[in-house]
Amino acid sequence: MNMNTWRSTDELEDRPAFRDWLQREFPPLASEWTNEASRRSFLKIMGASFALAGLNACTRQALEKVVPYVRQPEDLVPGQPLYFASALNLEGYARGILVESHEGRPTKIEGNPEHPASLGASDVFMQAEILALYDPERSKSVMNGLEVSTWDEFLALVVQEREKWKSNGGIGLRLLTGHITSPTLLSQIEVLLQEFPNAKWHVHEPLATKAPQPIYDVGKAEVILAVENDFLGPGPAQLKYARDFASRRRADSGATKFNRLYVAESTPSMTGARADYRYALGPRALQEFGTALATEASLPSWGVPILADLTRNKGRSLILLGDSLSEEVRQFARNWNRPLQIAQPLPSNGDSLSEFMQHVEAGKIETLVILGGNPAYDTPVDFKFAEKLALVPLRIRLGLYEDETSALCQWRLPEAHPLETWSDARAFDGTATIMQPLIEPLYGGKSAHELMAALAGNAVVSGYEIVRQYWHAQHAGDDFEKYWRKSLHDGVVAGSAGGKSSPFAPSVRAAASGSGLELVFRPSPSIRDGRFANNAWLQELPQPFTKITWDNSALISPATAKRLHLSNEDVVDLKYRGRLVRAPVWILPGQADDCVTVHLGYGRTHAGRVGNGVGFDAYALRTSDAPWGGSGLEIVKTGLRHPFATTQHHQSMEGRDQVRVGTLAEFQQHPAAVAQVGEPAPGGDETLYVPIAYKGHAWGMAIDLGACIGCNVCTIACQAENNIPVVGKEEVARGREMHWIRVDNYFEGAPENPRIHFQPVPCMHCENAPCELVCPVGATAHSSEGLNQMVYNRCVGTRYCSNNCPYKVRRFNFLEYDRNPFESAPVLKLLRNPDVTVRTRGVMEKCTYCVQRINRVRIEAEKQNRPIRDGEIIPACAQACPAEAIVFGDINDPQSRVAKFKASPLNYGLLAELNTRPRTTYLAKLLNPNPEAEKT
């Protein structure tokens, strides 16, 4: 009985000796039995452990308590989750969400289908936000210097300050925020600035693009050229773009005419991976290409057919340019794209950071209020923000964490998490969402609204009133209550799209000139600009292409590596414009030659226990004049080595056909030619056994490789849904990551510019499951609906099933991961999905097709005596997928979507020749080459 073993481990844990021992055990870097004391205590425990191992079987189940409410909320049915609509911000832009809440505990975030920026899907940051909510390391109390203070004491201070401001119109009062779209907050700021005309508001957003990109209708584009523009990658509009793009790449959905994607970029991006043609060029070359494109002069030979293709489809073609390209080129592109523009570029306002810094130096600033952000960490290094901040006498910070910026401020106010507060925000297209709290602030945080109200001398009002008042002002009239409720319920404010939105912090144009090695800055695909650095889920999420976890690296091309005699894990000094950063090297096929890409967001010093000291800080090289990189980089080998923890050591397909790719043309000529290759799966009759009939439902899954953009959200959605533990860098390095669905990444062809393939791999739920055959205790067996069941509490941990699984999708609890530093914090127990068992040490686990969801739906349907509808059951991965690449359903029902997918000639089973008869199958990936380009 695993609960017994738990208890026995508890008994051990209570011994202090053992506890700090465990501390030293994790990370397992620390040696187990170095010093005398622990060795002695060890011998004690060793004795105990034998006793316990014996006693385990002989203890009665302990008595548990059941604790009812005192007053039970009306709409709450104990044991049944509730869903609330809200929104989360990325660089200020809202992505609508639905939050699942169990007895008042938010446990899971899904996209809100009503919301234009999520369309029911989600990105990795949305999924991980739930962990951020409970993060035990968020700042918990108002601090004044080293003193623990209170909100009231702070208000007292504000009162004094206001007297001063009243007298001088707020000279020296400065507001520094990230990018804000919240209508309420904007109006609050406006009010403040009106009251104190001499006060000023500055905006800093580390990843803000130079000029706001309009939003285009990718779904209508026949031809797309993306230059250094990762529109399928993480970003405020990623989910919409991915959905629209994928909708034009489905051979099954009747769309016989694919769109065509050309990508030229310096470092592989999700967009590049999906391209029909990809060109790896350094920033300089890209700039030249851009100019050539705009001027139609001196276009490289490979560019000619592209331009032709674009021109042929003018009006139905897009040129999407990255920020590093010059304004002229971007203007040219904007004009070109106008026909497909769906959302206006948002007007810029607000004062720049450079101006702010001048005022700081000039000593013009007396009181600085920093709302969120983390400028001390992520402002351009040439601003020397951190050291100059001391010139400001009074520094007030509202922040989620005691981070680098907080460390420099006297007054530090704990900020409430978006899931804890009333607020609102706009999506990229202006659609407003009213954000409602799911839970009382866990750590007594305050929202920006409450702080602004306080500054405006109106400290008493609650966040709720502030937001409500704002919207009441927008929608006067007696049906406001209805309007309000509807907006809350739907998660979008009707007709708010295109509404007035907020400033972008403009950053000066990138200089793409000079010579020598080039440096390219990119946000980290996992932790973005560093704001998610303390989120263990994201840190452990294998980054696309490199599959590195818990690190960033200097990405260089194979050729460059050869030239500089560098190999993976070599540590080098990056010397750039008189600054130096020490970084480990990773050789990335598809990276442009003589160009080094570094991911921002790492090397945090005040992120928290999870994020501190992970990777190196690339901001230390990032200057205000060239935020996306530039020339003049020097690499000096140090001779040191830095081990990476990657989850995929082998990225060549070894001539095997796990990912099957063809062209649209091939497919249209011989539909079977693309997917039905290699050794065929044995037919159903080629068996000595009596085939097992699955009479009722037969659950199955189809994954469309043609749609997958490799965004990783399935992995993290699964982690959130199934209580999958984080194991830490050491364990990942040992090959013990626990993700139930992994996104395999293969490179095909020449290493300088290979084709890149993604392949999400969950459990295949084979009908002839090899794993089941070898389990000595029947801990894994087949259900009557064809699920490959894994019963944790029966598992004895022989691990034979994993050995015999050709897909290696099974995961083993080599240690008591639930007790490691990433999981052990008591508050994290609130995060657990109550419908999924938390696994103990020594048991196997794997993808269950989210059986808890299947059972929930089945029970509801049974209670209503009706059949289960197609699409009613959605596993976490499928629900999160922005490209709708994962389809789940009943393959016995010919009308179901999954059955239709599986009927497609593109459908194939992974390693089906082993006669495992997988229930999870794949749809081959189709490319749409340009006949002319083929000629050249």
Binding site: Q658, R736, A781, P806, Y807, F812, E816, R841, L910
Partner: protein, 452 residues
Amino acid sequence: MNVPDETPVVAPGYDSGSVTRKITDVVLARPLGRGWLAGFAFAFALLMLLNFAIGWLLIRGVGIWGINIPVAWGFAIVNFVWWIGIGHAGTFISAILLLLHQDWRTSINRFAEAMTLFAVACAGLFPLLHLGRPWVFYWLLPYPDTMGLWPQWRSPLVWDVFAVSTYATVSLMFWYVGLIPDLATMRDRSAPRPLQFIYGVMALGWRGSARHWKRFKMAYLLLAGLATPLVLSVHSVVSLDFAVAIVPGWHSTIFPPYFVAGAIFSGFAMVLTLLIPVRKAYGLQDFITIRHLENCAKIMLATGLMVAHGYITEMFMSWYSDDKFDIYMTLNRMFGPYAPAWWLLMFCNVLVPQALWFKSIRTNPAILFVLALLVNVGMWTERYVIVVTSLHRDFLPSAWGIYHPTRWDWMTLIGSFGLFLSLLFLFLRLLPAISITEMGKLVLDKKESRQQ
């Protein structure tokens, strides 16, 4: 039977009485030697190391080992297969050679059987330890539980449980039955009352009655008859742990015979490794003669060749099957990250035994000893190669991994030697290491055959 041209299996000039005296004196008359004490102390220290490693294992879990996904089996299974293999020589000698009337076996079968028991004890340890939750090992046994669940009979691991436990039980009984008359002798020869008493209890009051002897011989013969197919089945079942799986490098029909051959191969290597020092230390050269060593060497040569044949067949089949996974596996063994291990095993198991073609080497204890040691290493490496290299790169390149043993892996392996040696030292000290009755009979028969 007599083989005039060869060195005798017993040096001339012994009658049953002197044989008895010489053997029993090893235990009864000989004082507690410094050598024995030192040896035992060393073995016991290793045993404590094992204890230590196991304790930590139970507290922290199998994660302290180097295993991972994909290589979910490591040292534990390698050691298990290796030890169980070593166990096979004992039964082979005492059962199969008995049925074949190889009378030279008499002077070494007792010792070999003891070795078998201890090896099986070591082997039995590992399947338990390698479980993620060892405290529920009993779920592998059929018993009427409150869950309504049973073992999953299609799993080779369950077959293992039955095969190994049967093997252990039968070997133990075989060994003990053979001991009974000798225990009677010990009872009657030992002076101090307590000793007499202990041996007396163990001898069950054996008095050498003719009727008893008749039944005894019959039972012993039948046990031998049963042990023979058993010993073959046990390692076949062990090999099925691999052969039943679909992993390239495991999924092969040649495994059972080639594992059995390998087992006997390594078993005899271990017999030599132990006999050569022991016969010297206890001056038993007259009973354990060069002839014995040479015969063991011959068997090693034969089984070694079978093993080599196994290797070749494996490689041939993976080429002949034209299965891309299998071919890759074979090449990966030769040239992949674990190539050194593969070449080492080829050297130890294929090349080294060829030296045994030469009588001069077969009859040179010193060289034989070194040779046997090499074979022991080789056979361990073979299992390592089979377990690890097959797993670390199977079907999907994306799931390929690498395995490095941790210090806890090594401790457990080395510790198991401690267990083995401790038991062996105690055995040498407390029980007649050579079958007295059979030797007595043997010298008598020899005398008769000489008289004729």
